[in-house]
Symmetry: C2
Subunit: 156 residues, 2 copies
Amino acid sequence: MIRKLLYNDRSQLVKIVEETENFSPEEKQVAIELIDEAINNPNHEYYNTFVYEEEGKIYGYHCTGKRALTDGVYDLYWIVVDKKTQNKGLGKKLLDHAESFVKENNGRWILAETSSKDNYNATRNFYLRNKYSIVAEIRDFYKVSDNLIVFGKYIK
Amino acid sequence: MIRKLLYNDRSQLVKIVEETENFSPEEKQVAIELIDEAINNPNHEYYNTFVYEEEGKIYGYHCTGKRALTDGVYDLYWIVVDKKTQNKGLGKKLLDHAESFVKENNGRWILAETSSKDNYNATRNFYLRNKYSIVAEIRDFYKVSDNLIVFGKYIK
């Protein structure tokens, strides 16, 4: 089941983030900071975090937040699946859930920022497979030769 | 002269923001929140705020911040000139100063998000005149029919 983040989930989520080989140390740190923000401010409107849980074990999570000054744009900040559980459709279930959450909150856009680097190939294909399109690209963004690619889905 | 924000500048800056006819109530609120963040965390690396002052009177300010996970992308969050002092070249002086600040901090990109609405025509022309180009555009962003336009300048 997919349910809201609870206080006691922290250690399992941190472990999932730490074990994600694709993340740089800085990405791990930012992801964990965001988990802590969400846990310490459960009614916070910025970081809506949901976990995929089965019998007490957590296999992944997503985190979205409404962009300031917009009336319906949501950033998908993180969508992470336990590396031992990859390719079992969990990412798709989490993504569908994130989109439903955005729709329920009268969102129009869901946006996901990714990198152009080779090790994000699978991530980019994941968004394309799920009918996201590239809405923006900025060269030399994360680093020189590492571009920003923004995937977006317009939700009606 | 252009100098770092000081604690006592708050009331003058709030007045400048409040009197900016182009800003919606929500934009004014976000701008003031950011001024408060900067004032209360003067060593905060996220919100670098500089004011244009002459003999104790403040005529405008700019605020930039490095984008998380990037090693050289700065957002120009706000650049605001007192409405009674518009069209006297102050905006250009503030923008040049913001760019120098970014350069000194090893920034590559300076990005400014604006709206496609008619009342932001002068703002868009200001960026184009100062050699910014449109690096991204997302329709129905702030509201339906109110697009995001991201201006960017690559600083070598």
